[in-house]
């Protein structure tokens, strides 16, 4: 070994790999992945429903729409971990506060995507629909939402990565299970291999969902809509 290499400060790839294998064999890694993914799915689905609803509501508003838009933009600029103290006071240090942070981390990003998606609909689509007698719910369901869908999918994809970051931050600060917790454990034990191993796991899962699930969906929608930016 070279002298300047301090393996306790920066682990060798081999030791990271060995740590991953032993964490996997012990079952603790799988459990952490499961726990984190469960929170992620629940928190993200909640934020998708809330975000789309909020976005549609705001884009419906005739008078205060732009003020609300600015308000949401302001909330979006707040790093989601800053919601944690608020959540802890409301729910205590438990599952709910982590879910809350995850949800709120992506809700506003999704809302903003919905608002801009609706705003940027080609007005011709709506004019044409109205001249055909399309109105009310059908106008929303069959014209406006599909027309906004490419932007909406991009927003949902972005929302996923926001939620993922928020969840990791939340788990590190106030949880007892999950990937974020295992990352913090690495620090508590002074085990740099575990720290880096967990960072890699978090990157791989985040990237895999982003590319394989959302990336594919996004490409499919954009291609179907005849938009070729992707």
């Amino acid at each position: 070994m070279l002298h300047w290499w301090k393996s306790y400060a920066f682990p060798s790839p081999l030791s990271v790999f060995q740590t991953l294998v032993s964490l996997g064999q012990g079952g603790s890694l799988e459990l952490a992945v499961l726990v984190s993914m469960k929170r992620m799915v629940i928190g993200y689905l909640l934020s998708a429903v809330l975000g789309v609803t909020l976005g549609l509501l705001v884009s419906q508003m005739q008078h205060f729409g732009s003020q609300f838009n600015a308000f949401i933009l302001g909330l979006q600029s707040l790093p989601s971990i800053c919601w944690l103290p608020f959540a802890v006071l409301w729910f205590g240090i438990n599952e709910s506060s982590v879910l809350f942070v995850t949800t709120i981390g992506s809700t506003f990003a999704i809302s903003l995507a919905v608002i801009s998606g609706i705003k940027n609909i080609n007005p011709l689509y709506i004019h044409a629909a109205k001249t055909m007698g399309v109105q009310g719910i059908m106008l929303y369901r069959d014209v406006m939402i599909p027309a906004a869908l490419p932007n909406l999918v991009t927003g949902l994809k972005q929302g996923w990565s926001f939620a993922w970051r928020a969840l990791m931050a939340g788990e590190m600060m106030s949880s007892t299970h999950g990937l974020g917790v295992m990352l913090m454990q690495g620090r508590d034990f002074g085990d740099i291999s575990q720290v880096v191993a967990m960072m890699i796991v978090i990157i791989v899962i985040g990237l895999a969902v982003d590319r394989l699930l959302f990336g594919r969906l996004e490409r499919k929608v954009w291609r179907r809509w005849g938009l070729n930016q992707h």
């Binding site: 011709l124 689509y125 109205k130 001249t131 055909m132 007698g133 399309v134 014209v143 179907r224 809509w225």
Partner: protein, 281 residues
């Protein structure tokens, strides 16, 4: 003859930051049932605004438009509209686009599919029924839009420069097709264009619009038998006479844009020493 559209004293004023702009002033026009009307005029003369008012997409600030005696207040399927762009929905196949208007009208799926295929056949696109709009050419998209407009079975068809964005060969074919479709269906058609030849080819009456403010300058009856052929001597005669009326208006607009000393004759013919046919060689 029964009246279809009655345009009464229609005026339109737009309020802008630099004051108000009178787009239309005292427009009066009676259109008979089954009549083909073409409106020509310089750009910005308000002819598209008038079409939008008839469609119900814009509201006149003065006067009113009656359809079969009923005042027009909102858009509706009794006045099908075709725009300069096809306005097809990119997420629907051609046939689904054609069906969409009927879906809103509550036509059952089976029947609307049959009718959609019938009209796609009429515009000769049956074999492209399953294609998405972005897989079709500009002319094909416009034909799908025409099929969609026809399925609404409206008495009135409003067309806002529908062929303007197409190449000239495609445009010629579509003009012939529209002529045939009109002869078959006898709809009332209100067709806005800046192409005089197109207007004369299609119309029963050509309405020449003047600009600033937009109003009806002249109404020219085209008394030619159908089907009309492009380039026939009668057609050319009418085109020249409409052109003459239109040229004054175009010059008026040009003077406004390029300055008062702009003149059609001096400024559209370029003077150059080579146009003397070699006399000074």
């Amino acid at each position: 003859m029964q009246m279809s559209l009655d345009i009464k004293n229609v005026g339109m004023v737009y309020e802008t930051e630099s004051g108000h702009i009178q787009a239309l002033d005292q427009v009066n026009l009676q259109i008979r049932d089954g009549e083909f009307i073409c409106v020509v005029g310089p750009s910005g003369c308000g002819k598209s605004t008038l079409l939008n008012i008839i469609a119900g997409l814009e509201h006149a600030t003065d006067g009113e438009v009656l359809l079969d005696g009923q005042r027009i207040t909102a858009p509706g399927p009794d006045r099908a509209v075709m725009f300069q762009e096809a306005a097809l929905y990119p997420w629907m196949r051609a046939v689904e686009n054609v069906e969409f208007g009927m879906k809103a009208a509550g036509v059952p799926p089976q029947e609307r599919h049959q009718r959609a295929m019938k009209y796609l056949d009429l515009v000769r696109l049956k074999s492209f029924a399953q294609a998405y709009p972005h897989e079709l050419s500009g002319g094909m998209r416009q034909r799908v839009a025409l099929a969609r407009a026809l399925t609404l079975d409206s008495k009135v068809l409003l067309m806002d420069e529908p062929f303007a964005a197409l190449d000239s060969q495609t445009r010629n074919i579509l003009q012939l097709e529209l002529q045939h479709i009109w002869m078959e269906t006898k709809k009332t058609i209100f067709f806005v264009t800046h192409n005089v030849e197109e207007a004369v080819m299609l119309a029963d009456r050509v309405i020449v619009f003047s600009a600033h403010p937009g109003h009806v300058k002249k109404v020219i009856k085209i008394e030619l038998a159908r089907p009309r052929q492009r380039g026939s001597i009668d057609l050319t005669f009418y085109v020249k006479s409409v052109m003459k009326d239109l040229a004054e208006e175009v010059e008026k607009v040009a003077k406004k844009e390029y300055g008062d000393n702009w003149s059609f004759e001096d400024d559209t013919v370029l003077h150059n020493p080579d146009s003397d046919m070699g006399a000074y060689l």
